[in-house]
């Protein structure tokens, strides 16, 4: 196993404080290794986006990080905790080390500025020594990299299609050559053909540039194909984490199995799609014990009263379920 880039330790993120608050991310431990694509899957409201916003400190109020550490390992130098950086250190860290591609391809670009301005203002903020010609050259290069004609530099966002906008965002994310790129449902707003194209391109770019990716989606089938490891979230906790192929072949947690049963396989015999009965838990009134137990077909004695912990297993995977754990 290669070196870790980001280690999330006991991260807790909530919305609001006190009695009114809800805990959206609970005691999450997750490690992203260098050069790896880590998939993060789960239903809406499972806390995957909150986790991404929390670890980058981008949560808008009333979101608050209530505990934990996010240890970042830079290429050179000592690891540090992102959550304890000062404002100016955080500004330097952002985009330089960790870039993010957001869900809303349509709204991620500022409508009143040209693409060029939005690409180069990152450089202006992070590399003040660059000259204007250098900045423009770099922006052009990034557009070429993501397959957009560099003459679209002077276009405004509304003149580009959704797919092009998302590619501009990916180009923008890579402009400072970050170690980590977090993708929060980057292709959800796009059609299936465009999804493929963009993901293919992303994988190619990743192989060329060697950054690590945290890929957040509710589409487990995409993850099985594109990621090295997958973490499944439910009710703010990670319930299973394993290599992608292992999850696909043999998911241990009933929730993971449910997710896998919710989409058709491309090959193999026809089978009935099962889905998961019930709906995601209300964060304000979490079920006792394992938060999945009211929907779990295999729930038994301890599930309703005790919370199963994520336990490491010898085969490089971990799962939080009383069926598997002792």
């Amino acid at each position: 196993m290669s070196q870790p880039v980001i280690e999330i330790r006991n991260l807790n993120v909530g919305y609001g404080l006190g009695d009114q608050g809800v805990r959206a991310v609970r005691d999450v431990n997750l490690t992203l290794h260098r050069g790896e694509v880590l998939g993060l899957a789960g239903e809406s409201g499972s806390g995957k986006s909150t986790l991404a916003y929390g670890m980058t400190r981008l949560l808008a109020p009333p979101g608050v990080i209530t505990g934990g550490e996010v240890i970042y390992h830079p290429e050179q130098g000592d690891p540090y905790d992102v959550l304890s950086l000062s404002d100016s250190q955080l500004r330097k860290f952002r985009w330089n080390e960790t870039a993010i591609v957001f869900q809303g391809a349509m709204n991620s670009l500022n409508p009143v500025h040209k693409i060029a301005t939005q690409l180069t203002d990152v450089l202006k903020a992070h590399e003040p020594k660059m000259s204007e010609t250098q900045r423009n050259a770099r922006a052009r290069e990034m557009l070429k990299l993501v397959g957009i004609a560099p003459d679209r530099m002077d276009a405004y966002p509304h003149q580009l299609s959704g797919g092009m906008r998302q590619r501009v965002m990916i180009g923008m994310a890579l402009i400072l050559q970050p170690q980590v790129v977090i993708m929060d449902e980057p292709t959800t707003a796009l059609d299936v053909v465009m999804q493929r194209q963009i993901l293919g391109q992303l994988i190619e770019l990743r192989e060329r540039l060697g950054f690590s990716v945290i890929f957040i989606t509710h589409d487990l089938s995409l993850l099985v194909e594109f990621s090295n490891r997958i973490a499944i979230m439910y009710g703010g906790r990670i319930v299973e984490e394993a290599p992608a192929s292992a999850i696909y072949r043999d998911a241990l947690h009933p929730y993971s199995k449910g997710l896998l049963g919710s989409f058709p396989a491309l090959k193999g015999p026809r089978r009935e799609l099962t889905g998961i009965p019930g709906s995601p838990p209300d964060l304000k009134g979490m079920p006792s014990g394992c938060s999945f137990h009211p929907r779990c077909p295999k729930a038994f004695d301890p599930c309703g009263s005790e919370i199963p912990m994520l336990e490491n297993r010898p085969d490089n995977r971990s799962v939080a379920c009383w069926l598997v754990n002792s």
């Binding site: 981008l58 808008a60 109020p61 409508p111 500025h113 903020a125």
Partner: protein, 326 residues
Amino acid sequence: MKYFLQRLAFYLFTAWAAITLNFFIPRMIPGDPVQALITKYQGQLSSQAIDSLYVLFGLDKDAGLWSEYVSYWKQLFSGDLGLSFTFFPTPVSEIISNSLPWTLLLVGITTIISFFLGTGLGILAGWRRGSWTDGLLPVTTFLSSVPYFWLGIIAIYLLTGPDSFFPSSGGFDNGLVPAFDQYFIPSAIQHSLLPALTILISSVSGWILSMRNMMVTVSSEDYITVAHAKGLTDRRVAMSYAARNALLPNVSGFALSLGFIVGGTLLVEIVFSYPGVGFQLFQALGASDYPLMQGIFLIITISVLVANLLADIAYLLLDPRTRKEG
């Protein structure tokens, strides 16, 4: 450019329609200036005197609406707005050119100050919401719902008096002759302070409120989160991303309010007996002075149209989405 010409043609048509209405409306108001004079002198005018008044005002000809309409247009193009009835035989154009600078300076300057001050405070209040600036809001909501003239009456009641620094009416001290000298200018400024403050206080809150609300709306846009994630300085995100987008509705509001400078503060001028266009209009209305009314309406109409055109142009410059290609 084609778009611009289209707009221009539209405004020319609107101007024609407005001028035509402007011609007809005063003629539909019951009563005529001679009747008004008769009432003024409480029937002490002989019938001979009444006849000669009709001849004097040119109301004896009974020329028919159409020929009056044609000659109205002819006069307009030669810059002749007719003679005022009340200030007979002063030309209307002279009365307007005497009162216009008062209004333009008083209301023009306060409108501009009010816009910049209000927008600036609005940006601050919207960006730093949750801080002390939220305390401004109830005050601004209250002030924005107070009518100008009422505030003016209160101001006169509370702040003026025999020993007060603030004069209660007029545009300059009696006994001074309008001229750019060291006696007249301080006096004019002193007289304008109270009406200016009245307008400023009641109009600035509108700008603050609308700008703050737009800032709050824009702050939740995805591109703001992206801008934060890019590690740009808070100031750059606030100005170039949030305020730049939030400004758009306010700018068109501003251009429109420029159009209402000429006629929009009629009541303030009446309350303070300020020698501006609004006060003249008030007097003209009382005396059924058609030519003066028409002249003032014409000026107001044209200024509103010009302001609309300015708003269109400003929008074209500020929002790339409104620009049409080709």
